[in-house]
């Protein structure tokens, strides 16, 4: 190949220039790193215009919901728990302190510090804090009295008062399980934030305050916003520790293998330079560093090191002072250039395929790791030879295998040679064993549990994780989701509706006549007025519909329809005005009263349109809540608590009547409901109601507290409710939707899993195509795919068997597996083919193969596997996972490559090696063409499927149509003159 000679000669000759260019590029791009912007919000796993995010934001706005920091207080020393004067006064103080956690809003007004005055500040939202001193309590006072008061206006002075506070809170279903634990011993404060990215700041401030308390209390802070934000902060610290640590270990290992400090430095330089340039490029292009992209250095390092380890390993084995460094490196580069190019291309392809997932941060991650791999390749093929040239022959003295261990290469060499013999003798056994293993792994994979939970990203000893465990045992749950019910008002004035109103009017008039003698006559007038107005409005509506069908404009009619939806309100409004005017003109008080009553009748009809003021709707919500709280997984309750407008009405009703348990219910009439609601609004915090219902009573929000943030549990709740809604239709048309962080996590997880699977399939095909091209044979391409296929089966099979959740890091690692495993396979097969053509038989070739090439692979495996072991000590679970899986991936893929590939080559020696003896132009190979075309079509189909919402059936037809076309093109190409002559020549040769 021309290119490889060109590049290596160039870097050998102009090694200084190569070095200078590399340093300049690195410094230039590295200078961008200080511009770093971070984004630690998992919500950004979904594009901003994703439907669920839009709805979530809408719901937050509609109901003024905020992301919540949960602060639990437990006192184990006191038999009454926290309900003693000392603890409660600390809680009081903590609440007052939490109110002060406000800072100038940087996002909103560009850092105007003076703006705090006008209420424009970011931090804890004081009016929405849930704490004993900020929630209202409604209860019975003296007989016949109803009482509204703060639950704890001031810290209690005596033990008795403290217990009274407990009893009050426990008697309020809205507070029990939410504010006070089920056992009445612990308290939880809920601190809503203007923005969840302030969680860590609030978390830190609270911890500072807590540290100033002495007392037996324990404090627990958790909640998804805190977990997510804190993870973001700790992640960067972790990255700053882990990446250099891994680097050092890798460095020491290489020093152990190659013994020459000066030489070992070069892979380190490559790794550092690749990481710096890639991160610089990422940041320079304006991408924020997300949880995903923060892992780029960790992924890039092993890949960047691998190629230079191959070079070094071979250089180490071949170096002989007699030949000299220049010749040795030239020879090494000649051997390794093609495999290195292909391994880098395939690894890059594996990661680039992540760009196909519909998750923006994963796309960025995939693309930049791919870019980083290519940068690493470029620096490896240019700088490593240049570096070798910069060393003097003298400094290489005593270097090389020859000098170190004699030609056999030490203990590792002996083991490998034995392994080589084993693959030759026991080929069938190996294949059989791997098949069995793969089958078991396949079964394991089927048991894989897809699940994630940002709180579980912390190890069990982390305070946030402990808080999560502690609080979810005693309270309704620290994970929030919102189930939003939305009334679907019927548009326009249907005859059914008019009939119903008429019927109710008749009844009302009848009743009215008992009190007012003239009411019957006035009622008739009112009815006439109503039906006349309704008729004229109905005409208008028909006009609108007529217009719509003519214009066929999709936007306009819906607007006009919506306006028509207000017809009922409009009609009733007009009627009320008309009747009130009649009342004002009334001659007698009786007539005045009658007209007023009639106006009020239509006023009530207007209120009837407000769905979530109707007792039936509230009872339905009650039913929904009961069902929600019944959702279970593995016997455990998932929803600890839910709050809704129905609960509010029930509680107020109970206390207004007499406080007895049996009056904790929805009253019979909508007017009674309205009275309860108005009383609730006569509290200190009237606006609390608007978290649960909109002021037009068309949408209601059920605040669901889950004791687990595991996506599988949220999924379970969603599924349970789906079933419920299907079999229990609401009393009036309404639809339901989910919002809340816990739910959002489920959505992006679903996307991630299906996205990863598709992108993995895509990259599998791309790699296969590349391998087929590299080896000029789909068969060899297929063999090359075996180690990575087996590796993935085994790794994910074990994950399934062990019961480890398939979460974000696990999903992303599949791309790395693909890159690494194929790497070894390429190196091995490429060398196997060239060795075979030299030696002429596999029996001879295998000895050679288990010499230097096998050593290179083994060294790589060891360096990287051990290099990433320190990650296991990280306090963050995703890092542990990555460390563990990196180790396993390297070990398994290295092992499989060295065992299975030679076994296959041994068994299929005749069929496999016959072909490579007479290489033909690949365009002349019809079978090759068809297979590659097929794969290409599939890749394209996968891509289209991900981006456009094209159904499989449509896509299938396109693909199926494409295949024969490509086959035809293939056969035309392979039948052209050039191929024929070559074939004749081949035949002639055979003779």
């Amino acid at each position: 190949m021309e290119l490889r000679e060109l590049i290596s000669s160039f870097s050998i000759r102009h090694y200084r220039m190569v070095t200078i260019v590399m340093v300049l590029v690195t410094l230039g791009l590295g200078a961008m790193i200080p511009m770093i912007k971070t984004d630690t919000d998992p919500e950004n796993m979904l594009a901003e215009d994703e439907a669920v995010r839009i709805f979530h934001d809408q719901a937050k706005k509609t109901f003024s919901l905020s992301d919540i920091v949960v602060l639990g207080i437990v006192n184990r020393e006191n038999p009454d728990g926290v309900f003693n004067p000392e603890t409660l006064s600390r809680i009081f103080e903590l609440t007052e302190y939490a109110k002060t956690l406000r800072w100038p809003d940087e996002q909103q007004d560009g850092g105007g510090a003076g703006e705090v005055e006008g209420g424009r500040a970011a931090g804890v939202i004081e009016v929405d804090i849930l704490s004993p001193s900020t929630v209202d309590h409604i209860s019975q006072g003296k007989p016949g009295e109803v009482k509204f008061e703060w639950l704890m206006p001031q810290p209690p002075k005596t033990a008795q008062e403290a217990l009274e506070i407990r009893d009050r809170a426990m008697s309020n279903p809205m507070l029990k399980g939410t504010l006070v634990s089920e056992d009445g011993k612990a308290l939880c404060l809920y601190l809503p934030l203007t923005s969840k990215d302030l969680s860590y700041r609030v978390y830190k401030s609270l911890n500072e305050k807590i540290a100033s308390f002495d007392g037996p209390e324990q404090y627990f802070i958790t909640g998804l916003p805190v977990a997510e934000d804190t993870f973001g902060v700790e992640m960067f610290i972790q990255m700053a520790v882990s990446a250099p640590l891994a680097m050092i270990v890798i460095f020491l290992l290489m020093l152990f293998f190659f013994r020459k400090l000066v030489l070992v430095i070069s892979p380190m330089i490559i790794a550092m330079v690749s990481v710096i340039t890639t991160m610089g490029l990422l940041i320079g292009l304006g991408h924020p560093v997300h949880i995903m992209s923060s892992m780029i250095p960790i992924f890039l390092m092993p890949i960047a090191v691998v190629d230079s380890v191959h070079i070094l390993s071979e250089f180490f084995d071949r170096y002989d002072p007699k030949i000299g460094r220049e010749k040795t490196i030239r020879r090494v580069m000649h051997h390794l250039f093609t495999p290195m190019l292909y391994t880098s291309l395939t690894s890059a392809a594996g990661f680039a395929s992540l760009a196909l997932t519909p998750i923006p941060p994963v796309q960025v991650f995939g693309v930049f790791v791919a870019v980083g791999i290519l940068i690493a390749w470029l620096f490896t093929v240019t700088f490593v030879p240049a570096y070798v040239m910069m060393l003097s022959e003298k400094s290489l003295a005593n270097f090389g295998s020859a000098a170190a261990h004699g030609h056999e290469g030490g203990r590792m060499g002996r083991w490998l040679a034995a392994g080589g013999r084993l693959t030759f003798v026991g080929a069938k056994g190996i294949i059989l064993a791997v098949l069995v293993l793969a089958a078991v792994a396949g079964w394991g994979m089927s048991r894989i549990q897809i699940n994630d939970n940002p709180v579980k990203w912390f190890s069990k000893s982390h305070p946030i994780r402990q808080a999560d465990i502690e609080l979810n045992q005693h309270f309704g749950g620290t994970y929030m989701a919102y189930l939003v019910l939305e009334g679907q008002a019927e548009h326009g004035l249907s005859s059914d509706y008019l009939e119903a109103v008429n019927g109710r009017l008749d009844k009302a008039v009848e009743k009215l006549s008992q009190d007012y003698p003239g009411a019957a006559e006035l009622g008739k007038q009112a009815k006439k007025l109503f039906n006349e107005k309704a008729a004229s409005m109905g005409d208008k509506e028909k006009l609108i519909e007529g217009k719509a069908s003519v214009t066929n404009d999709k936007e306009k009619p819906s607007e006009e329809k919506a306006a028509a939806g207000n017809d009922k309100e409009g009609l009733l409004g007009e009627l009320i005005v008309a009747l009130e005017a009649l009342a004002e003109q009334a001659k007698s008080d009786d007539d005045y009263d009658a007209w007023t009553e009639l106006a009020a009748f239509f006023g009530l009809e207007k209120e009837r349109l407000k769905i979530f003021k109707q007792p039936e709707a509230l009872r339905y919500i009650e039913q929904v809540q009961r069902h929600l709280e019944r959702a279970t997984a593995g016997g455990g309750k998932l929803v600890g608590k839910s709050n809704s407008i129905a609960g509010v009405v029930k509680k107020v009703h109970q206390e207004l009547i007499d406080g007895r348990e049996e009056n904790y219910r929805i009253p019979e009439s909508s007017a009674a409901v309205a009275e309860c609601l108005l009383q609730y609004q006569s509290s200190h915090k009237p606006n609390d109601l608007w978290h649960l219902v909109t002021s037009d009573y068309q949408k209601a929000n059920i605040w669901v507290q889950l004791t687990s943030g595991d996506n599988k549990d949220m999924n379970q709740v969603v599924a349970t409710m789906e079933k419920f809604f299907k079999s229990n239709p609401p009393p009036m048309p309404m639809q339901y939707r989910w919002a809340g962080l816990t739910y959002i996590n489920v959505v992006w997880q679903d996307k991630m899993v299906s996205g990863m699977l598709q992108s993995f399939l895509g990259s599998f095909l791309v790699v296969f195509i590349m391998m087929s091209i590299l080896f000029r044979s789909p068969l060899w391409g297929l063999i090359c795919m075996i180690p990575l296929t087996v590796t993935i089966l085994l790794i994910y099979g074990v994950i399934g068997l062990v019961g480890k959740d398939y979460d974000m890091p696990v999903a992303v690692l599949s791309a790395l597996t693909l890159g690494m495993a194929v790497d070894f396979a390429i190196h091995f097969l490429e060398r196997a083919r060239s060795t075979y053509s030299e030696k002429g038989s596999w029996q001879l070739a295998v000895v050679e193969m288990f010499g230097e090439p096998a050593r290179a692979i083994s060294r790589n495996v060891l360096v990287i596997a051990i290099g990433f072991l320190p990650l296991l000590a990280a306090p963050l679970m995703p890092y542990k996972t990555v460390g563990f899986l990196l180790c396993s991936i390297m070990a398994v893929s290295g092992g499989i490559t060295l065992l299975v590939l030679p076994a296959i080559l041994r068994l299929g020696e005749k069929q496999l090696f016959k072909r490579i003896e007479q290489p033909r132009g690949m365009t002349c190979n019809c079978g090759f063409c068809i297979v590659v075309s097929l794969a290409t079509v599939l890749v394209v189909a996968l891509n289209i499927h991900q981006y456009a919402v094209v159904g499989w059936s449509k896509l299938t037809w396109i693909s199926i149509a494409a295949v024969p076309v490509m086959a035809l093109v293939c056969s035309v190409i392979s039948r052209r003159q050039a191929c024929k002559t070559q074939e004749i020549a081949n035949r002639a040769d055979e003779k």
């Binding site: 209202d136 008061e149 207004l656 009439s669 007017a671 309205a674 009237p686």
Partner: protein
Amino acid sequence: MLKFLMKMTVLMMIFSWSVSVGAAGPEAMAEGVSAESTSSVVSVEGAAGSAEEKNPEKKLTVEAIVNKANLMAYYQGDNGKAQVNMIINDYEEKIEDGKKKIVTKNTRTREFNILRGDIEDGGDQNYFVYFIKPADVRKMVFMVHKHADIDKDDDRWLYLPSLDLVKRIAAGDKRTSFVGSDFLYEDVSGRSLQEDKHELIETTDEFYVVKNTPKTSQSVEFSYYNVRIDKKNFMPMKMEFYDSKGKLYRIIESLQVETVGKYPTVVKSKVTDLNKQSFTLMEFSKIEYNIDLADIFTERYLRKPPREAVR
């Protein structure tokens, strides 16, 4: 029962001392209501003696000022009546093109009649509030016997027609919302002058500015409030409440003052809660003073409200 006092007052003021000043302050919201100056400013004859009127600035003590303002706001006439239209809005501040914009949302309304009967000027008085709208709370009644004596809690009743219940509201915290609005119960019946320490902190061409600090801080959520009192007629025009951190969080304004009969009367007032980000407008109509009113402020009238309250 009712003592006939010379001065007639407007019932208007029932709700707090609200009175409007011409231009709304910087905190005033930009929506709808343009803050107009009082259309007719009337000097108060009775309440303030003529001697004081000639040389008001020097002679008036802060006690005299707050007393006059109290009478102006809560005790005009012997009794009074009005229909009140209450509009409650949430608002949101948005920054568009570098400018602050106020967007209102979630509008809800209430309509009720309010009757007031004074027992003694500056002393005890009664209130009867009869709800008209929303229609589903029509006929609901809220009644107060206000006691000027600081040691005697007000008596408060509630009648809920659909639940057919008469409930007394327990004494104690009066700083809860009045039917979901930004007005508090205490704004309705007035805060006793004895509860606060008063200081005259500023005298401008138009206003006395009085700072009021509660004598016991435990029962209230504010640390102090300032009242701007119109020097011409002693109408309180603006009250600003500050929290324990010294942050302004609540404003009551009189947006429009008109003369009804001979009484300066606030016909439009507004409360803004900066923390809750909501504000409430009250518009008064059908205002009457010194009507012929029997003693309707008793429990038995709750279920059968008098005609004066209904119509």
